[in-house]
Amino acid sequence: MTLLELEGVTRTVELPDDEPLHILRGVDLTVSVGDHVSIVGRSGSGKSTLLNLLGLLDNPTSGAIRFDGRLISDMSANQRDRARGRDVGFIFQQFNLLGGRTALENAMTPLLYASGRQFWRREQIALEMLDRVGLSHRAQSMPEKLSGGEQQRVAIARALVRGPRLILADEPTGALDVETGASVMALLDEVAHSSGAALITITHDANIAALARRHYRLDRGVLAPVDVNRVLALAQPEVTL
């Protein structure tokens, strides 16, 4: 079942005294429920812009983006915000946990924007999710008291508390050492798989990208499928992306 579909998506920025800047050029991508897709690309290749579009944070200049079969250009800003809260979970490179709040409070944050049972049972849901990522014993710890891996696991719990159908992981292991990064990715893959959510990992780490089932490369705004062996070859130090 198709969850997200990009069709000929472009994103262009008008510059005051220069030619328009074409950040994305004719991007086509289909992501189904339960999919695991990786997108690799250098800095400046348009990854952030693509992330904005995939996360319903921006509209394309041309082309169509359908989320759950619905054109996002037909949705109001509020509808997009609500759909994002309900169906999209973000995981960031720098974890982006909120300071001054415990792991539990951080995990509860998305549930503040939920309604009904999810809102009123937010503490219990967040605790269950922390338990699932193996951090129930650190629920009352502040972010600065947690290791990098633990912080990213809290971020994963936070991304998953509302049961999103799409998880967007933006350089999820970028701030972790190789071993911790691998364990965090394994956890993310397992949790996403068991919840049936689609996982899109945007990274420049070929090893992390290789964990996905489908692989794409973003180069100068053009998104193209790439073979897993090619991705792994790209992971060798002497080869550049």
């Binding site: 996360g55 409070e105 944050t109």
Partner: protein, 404 residues
């Protein structure tokens, strides 16, 4: 419903986490609210004190003063005739509060000899109509008019010269009328500030008439006052004038007019003072608001990443706007409560009350309007101070903010 509760939860959580910053930023608001509320509260007491002072001098609104004279000769009707006419007419219109008043000198036999004491000769109602304040004992009652030994209400100076006797022992003095008479002191009034040592007293009109020498009665020129509801004062003025003129007969000009403070100064004699003090308080509040806006703006800029994260988890622009506004409103309202509390402590402080409300008989309770104005002003300032940061917050570009 969950949206509103969620916004409150967010706002409270934000305030709790940044309590030091919030506390510092709100000191100005709390102080300003305390100042504003204190000013309004003290203003109410001052107004009451001023009003009572006015009422002591010229009666409560609306007090009608009645006088009569012969326009040709300038002569006045004798006190007894005018008094009878006044009492008959006021009784006819069911005026509950009336008094006659005049000044006389009565010699009192103190231990050091006879001393003339300025005496105000009045009716029982005078005490209420002119808010006469008692130091000890009580004002005249209707029963005092029947006493064979006239009742006296003396001032503090007279009372002290008599050795400050306990009024429960019914202390007496000898006064000189046509003949020496023993009078009973029933009450003592406090000396007004800056006039200690000057002996004065009150005596009931009929009691004085009973003991006064004929020559003293002849020289009396009493005033006649009626305290009537303000809404019918104008109608009663015409009726009382007409009826007393009719009772006195041809040749007498009867004047009935109001002399209470309201008739001279409109509805609110303290309006100009209130406006001045209120203006200063509003200025203080605006300065507090400016500080709050400043700190809130800086804080929001520091929180751009957090706002971006919240947006990425589904917070709508409206929700972010409301949450940032609520932080400011909730915090300022809390500061308002503290400010009002401080104001109550200041306004109800015995030293402050003693200073501001000197001589006041009805010390007003802390005015509810002052508390409401304080809280309302704090909430308004909170909303005002939250507006700019909230606008900045909704313009945050989510991914840029997160990657910032």
């Amino acid at each position: 419903m969950t949206g509103i509760v969620g916004a409150f939860v967010e706002a409270w959580s934000e305030i709790r986490i940044h309590r030091t910053r919030v506390l510092l930023s709100l000191i100005g608001v709390a102080v300003a609210v305390a100042a504003l509320t204190s000013v309004v509260g003290l203003g109410a007491i001052t107004q009451q004190a001023t009003t009572e002072n006015y009422e002591r001098q010229s009666g409560r609104p609306a007090t009608l003063f009645v006088s009569a004279y012969n326009p040709t000769t300038g002569a006045t009707p004798d006190a007894k005739t005018l008094s009878t006419a006044f009492l008959t007419v006021t009784d006819r219109y069911s005026v509950d509060w009336t008094t006659r008043s005049t000044y006389a000198q009565v010699s009192v036999d103190f231990t050091e000899g006879l001393t003339p004491v300025d005496t105000m000769v009045v009716d029982v109602d005078y005490g209420t109509m002119h808010r006469v304040q008692m130091l000890t004992g009580s004002w005249f009652t209707a029963g005092d008019e029947q006493r064979l030994a006239p009742a006296l209400v003396v001032n503090e100076t007279v009372w002290k010269r008599l050795g400050s006797p306990d009024l429960r022992t019914h202390p007496t003095v000898t006064i000189q009328g046509a003949d020496p008479v023993t009078a009973v002191i029933v009450g003592v009034t406090p000396d007004p500030p800056y006039s200690q040592g000057y002996a004065t007293m009150f005596m009931l009109y009929d009691s004085y008439m009973a003991i006064a020498a004929p020559a003293q009665v002849q020289s009396l020129y009493p005033q006649f006052e009626a305290w009537v509801p303000t809404d019918i004062a104008e109608d009663l003025t015409g009726l009382i004038q007409r009826d007393i003129a009719g009772a006195l007969g041809d040749g007498w000009q009867v004047d009935v007019n109001r002399q209470d403070y309201l008739v001279y100064q409109g509805e609110d004699p303290l309006l100009s003072i209130k406006l001045l003090v209120g203006g200063v308080a509003v200025l203080v509040l605006l300065l507090g608001a400016l500080g709050l806006v400043n700190i809130s703006l800086v804080t929001v800029r520091q929180r751009i990443r957090e706002i971006g994260i919240r947006r990425s988890f589904g917070a709508t622009a409206g929700r972010v706007f409301f949450a940032v506004m609520m932080e400011s409103v909730v915090a300022a309202a809390a500061a308002g409560v503290v400010g009002v509390f401080i104001a109550v402590l200041v306004v109800k402080n015995p030293m402050v009350v003693g200073f501001i409300a000197q001589g006041i008989t009805d010390v007003p309770a802390f005015p509810l309007e002052a508390a409401l104005i304080g809280l309302g002003a704090a909430t308004f300032v909170g909303a005002l101070a939250g507006l700019l940061p909230a606008l900045v917050a909704v313009r945050v570009k989510v991914i840029d903010a997160i990657r910032y």
